[in-house]
């Protein structure tokens, strides 16, 4: 199944790289958003199947905020990407039913494996 994926990452180079990977695996990139507002705007236009979400946007934790809004408004879940995935950070995402976690610096294979797992768990529902 080809999924529609929203990428939320404030570092444009990394966002672009993720978009390349997702598109290369045959999925559609809905948009590359840089902050919670951009993520909501994109998702309001068209609902993504899930988001690839950087936890720390602009040095804060606003990726969590973006993920929460996507989840609460539309039930859109996220794969979380971060350079810090300690147990405390993971615990903060628990209520948002995370689809997976990928540590930075990521191996493209890890990103794609997480995307495939997400696609599977979403199409089962």
């Amino acid at each position: 199944m080809a999924a529609t994926v929203l990428i939320v990452e404030d570092q444009v180079l990394i966002a672009w790289h993720l978009a390349d990977l997702v598109a290369g695996a045959g999925h559609r990139v809905l948009a590359m958003a840089r902050d919670p507002a951009g993520a909501m705007e994109a998702a309001a236009r068209e609902r993504p199947d899930f988001a690839l979400m950087d936890i720390r946007l602009h040095g804060g934790t606003s990726g969590l905020e973006a993920a929460r809004m996507l989840f609460e408004c539309w039930g859109v879940r996220s794969i979380f990407i971060s350079a810090n995935l300690d147990p405390a950070t993971r615990a903060q995402t628990e209520a948002l039913q995370p689809l997976g976690f990928v540590g930075k610096p990521f191996l493209p294979a890890d990103v794609l494996a997480a995307v495939e797992r997400a696609v599977k768990s979403i199409s089962v529902q």
């Binding site: 180079l13 990394i14 810090n84 540590g103 930075k104 610096p105 191996l107």
Partner: protein, 348 residues
């Protein structure tokens, strides 16, 4: 001088004695809380977190030594200073016990007011300097976390930049050169994803590290799709010092890339296997083997960067390289001493 008076909890079931102590402390300018039982004292300590507790040994419910032990073993209250007090007739063993239970000082009643005040001030001074150290440590930890975050993010930017650039080339040679560079940088960068999530950031667990890199080599080479090659990874559970871990990963990277290019089995797909195992006598042996015909003459390869890298990295590991050729297999072994890593565990 601090503007707000420091708080001391005075615990004694004998009202007269408690009053006398409170009076001395009030005169010395402290704010005083009072408790008559051990249970009451523990509750006040948990709620108000007074920096100093003056604790009588003989209490109606809990023994003062036990109260002290509970204060000092609860991480929320363990920084509280405890001054244990008791009447003259107390045995030496009780004083020893109470200090062993974590009391910071001990006084025998009756106490001169000056001495009680001086000891209280000394303990509060200690409390303040310990608190300052704890704050400084917490700040350092935050800083370290921030720096780690930056390092990992910057490495990610390097990798993303290389990947984006690599996709823009059309010529197969250039693409291959770029893919090699990306693969090498990936092997180095990937260790950082693992290090700080571990209990021990000075060593790296090789099984997860190499398995992850293997999956990435499979993806990057596209061997899954064309089914011309298969990669098997068997890595014993072992931790290596970080710099050795990186060296091993880079050697694996070179050898697997080489095998992907050169392994040409007579029939069926190329099977490339990576093995890392203990090899007796404190040695570790890395083997990268394939079922293809051996490279005809390594003459041209010797000058390749890959071959040079393997030699230099083997030297860095204090290891030796040996090549095994047999009908239908080609194996490279790197054997090196397993260094007892400087291990680090958090002190709690």
């Amino acid at each position: 001088m601090s503007e707000t008076p420091e708080t001391i909890l005075n615990v004694n079931d004998n009202e007269a004695a408690r009053y006398a102590t409170t009076r001395i402390l009030h005169r010395a300018g402290f704010k005083v809380l009072e408790a008559g039982t051990g249970g009451e004292a523990l509750q006040i300590i948990r709620e108000d977190l007074p920096p100093l507790v003056i604790l009588d040994i003989n209490l109606p419910d809990l023994n003062g030594v036990e109260v002290c032990r509970r204060i000092k073993t609860d991480p929320n209250t363990s920084s509280t200073m405890v001054l244990q007090m008791s009447a003259t007739n107390i045995a030496v063993i009780d004083r020893v016990n109470s200090l062993a239970a974590g009391a910071d000082s001990f006084l025998v009643e009756p106490v001169e007011p000056e001495e009680l005040e001086a000891v209280s001030r000394a303990l509060l001074r200690l409390y303040r300097s310990e608190a300052a150290l704890r704050r400084a440590l917490a700040e350092r930890e935050l800083l370290l976390k921030e720096v780690n975050h930056r390092v990992k993010n910057s490495l990610q930017l390097v990798l993303s930049m290389l990947s984006l650039q690599g996709h823009r080339f059309k010529e197969p040679e250039t693409r291959e050169l770029f893919a090699k560079a990306i693969s090498r940088v990936t092997a180095i960068a990937a260790i950082h994803e693992r290090l700080y999530q571990d209990a021990d950031p000075l060593t790296v667990e090789m099984h997860t590290y190499l398995t992850g890199l293997g999956a990435e080599l499979v993806r990057a080479s596209g061997m899954e799709e064309n089914a011309q090659a298969r990669l098997q990874i068997e890595v014993e559970e072992m931790r290596l010092p970080t710099e050795h871990g990186v060296a091993v990963a880079l050697v694996v990277n070179e050898l697997v890339m080489n095998a992907l290019k050169h392994a040409q089995p007579l029939s069926g797909p190329a099977v490339i296997s990576v093995r890392l195992e203990r090899h007796g006598n404190g040695q570790v042996r890395l083997t990268v083997a394939d079922n293809g015909a051996a490279p005809e003459q390594p003459g041209s390869e010797v000058t390749g960067l890959g071959t040079q890298l393997i030699r230099m990295l083997a030297r860095q590991l204090n290891g030796t390289v040996s090549i095994e050729r047999a009908a239908g297999t080609y194996a490279v072994h790197v054997t090196f001493p397993l260094q007892s890593a400087v291990s680090w565990r958090p002190p709690y």
